[in-house]
């Protein structure tokens, strides 16, 4: 038979002999297994694990960065808040001060105005009183003249006339002096 000459014969023995051929076979199987695992599992798995490691590192870095950013932002806001509070206080203080100044000014002006109005009013009154006095003098004089002429017409004595006028003027002068 063909198979008899080409294929080795299988014999069942009691297991006493050594079978070195299996060393070659085992080594071969192991190496082939290693190559297959390298191609189908090890390389993709290693790549994936590396990718994950990178991703985790990236995530940690970016988290750190955003935390820092947030901190900076919060600090900026706090600063801005403090500054605006300060500004507000300044503005209020300024307003208070200028209001005080203005009110003082207004009061002062009002007082001055009142003073000047009062003064001019007094002056006017004085003037009018003087005018009135002068008018009165004239009126009295005219009146006297009229009276005199009427009395004269009734032939009054000149001495009586004079005495009358003098006493009249004296009376006016007393009133004026008072």
């Amino acid at each position: 038979m063909l198979s008899h000459s080409l294929l080795p014969t299988v014999a069942v023995t009691d297991g006493g002999g050594l079978y070195y051929g299996n060393m070659i076979f085992t080594a071969l199987v192991f190496i082939i297994l290693m190559l297959l695992i390298m191609k189908f599992a090890w390389k993709p798995l290693s790549e994936m694990m590396e990718k994950r490691a990178n991703k985790i590192a990236d995530d940690i870095n970016s988290a750190e960065k955003s935390r820092k950013d947030a901190e900076d932002l919060a600090k900026q806001r706090e600063d801005a808040l403090a500054k605006s509070r300060e500004d507000a206080t300044d503005i209020i203080n300024n307003a208070k001060q200028s209001a005080q100044v203005q009110s003082d000014q207004i009061v002062t002006t009002a007082r001055n105005d009142a003073q000047s109005i009062k003064a001019s009013a007094q002056k006017d009154i004085e003037q009018e009183r003087k005018d009135a006095l002068a008018n009165t003098k004239n009126d009295v004089a005219n009146l006297s003249i009229e009276i005199a002429s009427k009395i004269i017409q009734k032939e009054l004595k000149a001495d009586d006339q004079k005495a009358l006028i003098d006493s009249y003027i004296e009376g006016l002068g007393k009133q004026d002096a008072r």
């Binding site: 023995t13 051929g21 085992t26 297994l33 695992i37 798995l45 994936m48």
Partner: protein, 238 residues
């Protein structure tokens, strides 16, 4: 010990068919497991990918304790395949054993000294190769065989041989003992009716659990020692 085996001769070498079948089945299991677990890889892992990454992290951890830095990446794949292959091989014989005409065709490949010594040979060949490529042949030779002084040469040669034998035979001994006792227990169960069946099932359950533990520990020990040897070879002593 002397269970019957079926063999054939090719190129003057003897081949054990049962052993070859076991090794192939174990390799297929390993490949299927890794292949299925590595489908649809995602950045955020879930389920089977987590399992696979757990194993990879574990073996990478073993590598990193002995080999440092960038070199560790080169050995990661080797450590991973070695660990998964030995682990699955160790557990295979605990799950099933297929006999045909009294010859065991599928069992733990690691319960055979030829297989474990082959793995030890691959490991040590790589260790020596790494030593030569790192230190140059002169540096490798003097740091491996002429330390602490030249007269130590015979002892060092013997030590290398001892490393090879202990690494391979430790694994073989542990797994073979586990399978042997399971086989004896099953003989006990079948030989004495109910009287033998009940106690042997109980003892077999305990022994199975212990063997699973032993198988896991031996896979870990084998990979760890592998990288102890490799790290010894690639860094000059002193």
């Amino acid at each position: 010990m002397n269970d019957p085996i079926s063999t054939f001769k090719l190129f003057g070498l003897t081949f054990n068919i049962g052993n070859m079948v076991s090794v192939t089945v174990a390799a297929v299991f390993v490949f299927l497991f890794v292949f299925i677990c590595s489908r649809k890889l995602q950045v955020i892992p879930s389920g089977k990918q987590n399992l696979l990454e757990m194993i990879v992290d574990f073996t990478n951890g073993i590598v990193n304790t002995s080999v440092e830095g960038a070199k560790a990446k080169v050995y990661g794949l080797f450590a991973f395949v070695l660990f998964v292959f030995i682990f699955i091989s160790n557990q295979m014989g605990l799950l099933f054993q297929i006999d045909y005409n009294g010859v065991a065709y599928v069992k733990s490949p690691t319960s055979d000294p030829i297989v474990t010594l082959t793995l030890a040979a691959i490991t040590l060949a790589w260790a020596h190769f790494a030593g030569v490529s790192k230190l140059g042949f002169k540096g490798y030779f003097s740091s491996t065989y002429l330390k602490p002084f030249k007269l130590w040469l015979p002892l060092n040669v013997f030590e290398e041989l001892a490393n090879f034998l202990t690494l391979g035979l430790r694994l073989y001994g542990n797994i073979f003992a586990g399978e042997l006792l399971l086989g004896l227990l099953s003989k006990l169960a079948l030989g004495y009716g109910v009287l033998g069946y009940v106690p042997s099932v109980l003892v077999a359950m305990i022994w199975e659990a212990f063997s699973i533990f032993i198988g896991s520990v031996q896979a870990f020990v084998f990979v760890t020692l592998t990288f102890v040897y490799i790290s010894q070879k690639i860094q000059p002593e002193e």
